[in-house]
């Protein structure tokens, strides 16, 4: 009680600070966009003339697959879970498509790869939803299974060889109107679907409800297992889509292609203001979070910092942003 009354006192005294806090808490996208603007401005000051439409196109093109991968993390984190299998699933779909396209053609290959991703997601969902295995363990186990099977498939198909199909390369690294990346064709509908879906559909509300207070959700008549099964299937399919884009972006078919992006995808969702404890956050912040990560990496490498310093600063940024969120969300 005393804490809340003292909070009220500080609020009346420091209206501006409290106002900022409210913005930070209720619409984390606003300060994030400001942070992003500051980053871009810094970039322009440090390297004058580098910020052009062309540069922006390159940044967006690199950030889009990460943003889609981070969508999986955002959705699962909303329910208090996490998906550590996204990297394995994404690598698998890219690789599977590249190996199947020669014999089956592009569309059947993409369909089979997406089907495999959905199957992995279904199994994860059954484990988490029905058998109540901790999501961390379930997705960790699934990532071992998926990457093991993908490696075994690689050994089987070693003679046929693999190449990233031209359609995926067009999607992942091509541009239209000179600077606009083609991957926007995939990203815009996906992002719109998630943003609108979380806000207005019943399923979106269910995700928040299950994550915010599972007991309250259960007592209100929510059966959480179908919600979780659909969620993890959705998450795996999103990871699969990201896998197609990564394969097209880098023009490589490898079973370990996306592995290094697993933890950055969690970081993008955390920076975007989604709580790992569930019930709080959204996809808008995650998109800006992925852009911030991409621009930070690019800024640090253009300043000539070695990889080591980049990683240290990267980690510090995550801690600072997460600490800022925790500060504004727990004290009220």
């Amino acid at each position: 009680m005393s804490q809340s009354s003292s909070m009220r006192a500080t609020r009346s005294q420091w209206l501006t600070i409290a106002g900022w806090r409210a913005i930070f808490r209720d619409a984390p996208v606003v300060p994030l966009v400001i942070l992003f603007g500051v980053l871009v401005l810094t970039f322009d000051i440090v390297r004058p003339g580098i910020v052009t439409a062309n540069w922006a196109g390159v940044m967006v093109r690199a950030a889009i697959p990460l943003a889609i991968l981070a969508a999986s993390q955002t959705l699962t984190m909303l329910t208090g879970g996490i998906d550590l299998s996204v990297a394995a699933v994404a690598s698998m779909t890219g690789f599977l498509t590249a190996t199947l396209v020669g014999s089956l053609g592009i569309w059947p290959a993409v369909a089979i790869a997406t089907g495999c991703a959905a199957l992995a997601g279904l199994l994860t969902g059954i484990g988490v939803g029905i058998f109540r295995v901790h999501p961390l363990i379930m997705t960790l186990g699934m990532s071992l299974v998926v990457s093991g099977l993908a490696n075994a498939w690689q050994v089987l198909r070693v003679q046929t060889g693999a190449g990233v199909p031209i359609e995926l390369r067009w999607l992942g690294s091509g541009t239209f109107l000179q600077v606009m990346p083609n991957s926007l064709v995939v990203f815009v509908p996906v992002a719109a679907l998630i943003l609108v879906g979380l806000r207005v559909t019943g399923y979106g509300r269910l995700l928040y409800a299950v994550g915010d207070n599972p007991t309250a959700a259960r007592l209100s008549g929510v059966r959480s297992w179908p919600v979780l099964i659909v969620l993890y299937m959705l998450s795996a399919v999103l990871a699969g889509i990201a896998g197609f884009l990564y394969a097209g972006h880098t023009n490589t078919a490898s079973v370990a292609l996306v592995d290094t992006f697993l933890l950055p995808s969690v970081a993008a969702a955390v920076i975007g203001g989604t709580s790992i404890l569930g019930g709080r956050g959204g996809y808008g912040g995650t998109i800006v979070g992925a852009l911030i990560l991409q621009v930070t990496i690019s800024l640090l490498s253009s300043l000539g910092y070695p990889e080591a310093v980049r990683q240290i600063l990267f980690g510090s940024v995550i801690v600072l942003v997460a600490a800022a969120y925790t500060r504004v969300t727990t004290e009220t």
């Binding site: 996490i82 550590l84 484990g127 058998f131 109540r132 295995v133 901790h134 961390l136 363990i137 379930m138 960790l140 186990g141 699934m142 990532s143 071992l144 299974v145 990457s147 093991g148 099977l149 490696n151 075994a152 050994v155 933890l263 969690v266 970081a267 955390v270 790992i276 404890l277 070695p306 990889e307 080591a308 310093v309 980049r310 990683q311 240290i312 600063l313 990267f314 980690g315 510090s316 995550i318 801690v319 997460a322 600490a323 969120y325 925790t326 500060r327 727990t330």
Partner: protein, 340 residues
Amino acid sequence: MNAVSGSCDTTRAGPAETLASWARNNSWSLGLIAFLAVLLVFTRMIQPTYGVAGVQGLAISVLPLALAAVAQAIVIIAGGIDLSIGSMMALTSAVSAVWMQGRSEEFAVLVVIGVLLLGLALGFINGLVIVATKVPDIVVTLAMLFVWAGAALLVLRTPGGASADWLSEVIRGPVGKESLLEWIPKAALVLLVVVGVVWIPIRRSRLGLSLYAIGSNQLAAFRSGVSVGRTKVVAYMLTGLFSAMAGLSLTASTGSGAPVPGPYTLLSVAAVVLGGVSLAGGRGGVLGPIIGVVILSLLRTDMTFMRWDPNYASVAQGSILVGVVMAGTLIQRRQMRTRS
């Protein structure tokens, strides 16, 4: 309540009953040991030449991951999780290899002490940031994973440096030349000694009780007079210490520093869960995770003996991990139902 009354009974009970209750409390570890024994017999059946050399190789290759699993087990028991173990191993391994390069054997003793202190310091920073910022453990250690990995690359850009001869000798080869001693690898003895010297006294002290208390129920622990923040920092320091030992064992077994983090963090989580430690905290020990590591690694060896594609080993590891946790949950649920 049940646990408290149970432990009161054992103080008055005879040795037979004490043994029985120990077996009851450690049923998970005993089951794992039985499974390991079956697996060893099976290995011997499919590969009759598997013997002393095989056991030695297994022990040396398992040592870093076993120490990492102990590190992870301690922090998970205290209700946290540490995703930066792999990076801390990389950093301590790199530092030890750089410091030991071109120095005398005696100086290496100081290096080992220094690296262990470094591990404590890394863990202290992890714990302090978590307690001070109140950010969830998983997020902070995820961020520190990048920080420590970057620091490791600053110390040593590519694998290099050197290990003191005595340090490599400590973990290499069998304990003795006689028929029975030949079967006991030094690496296994080292593991038992460090766990026995560091963990068992802590486990039996007030501090150990506090670690389990904050893992099982923070609020209850706080109300019983446990300093939650301080105990949590100590838990992360112990994790840092065992990660430093794991890093040293990496340097010792390869003879050079490894600045790029291996797959140790996630495998350590898998081994800890397989070893019967609850991810929710407050339950389990360090023996189970060590046996879990040996089982996971022996499975991979068996797959190569059976001329299977070793990639199926990771499929098997993942399936076993999930299967074991599912079985554990089902057993726990049934127990809860029969009790209530």
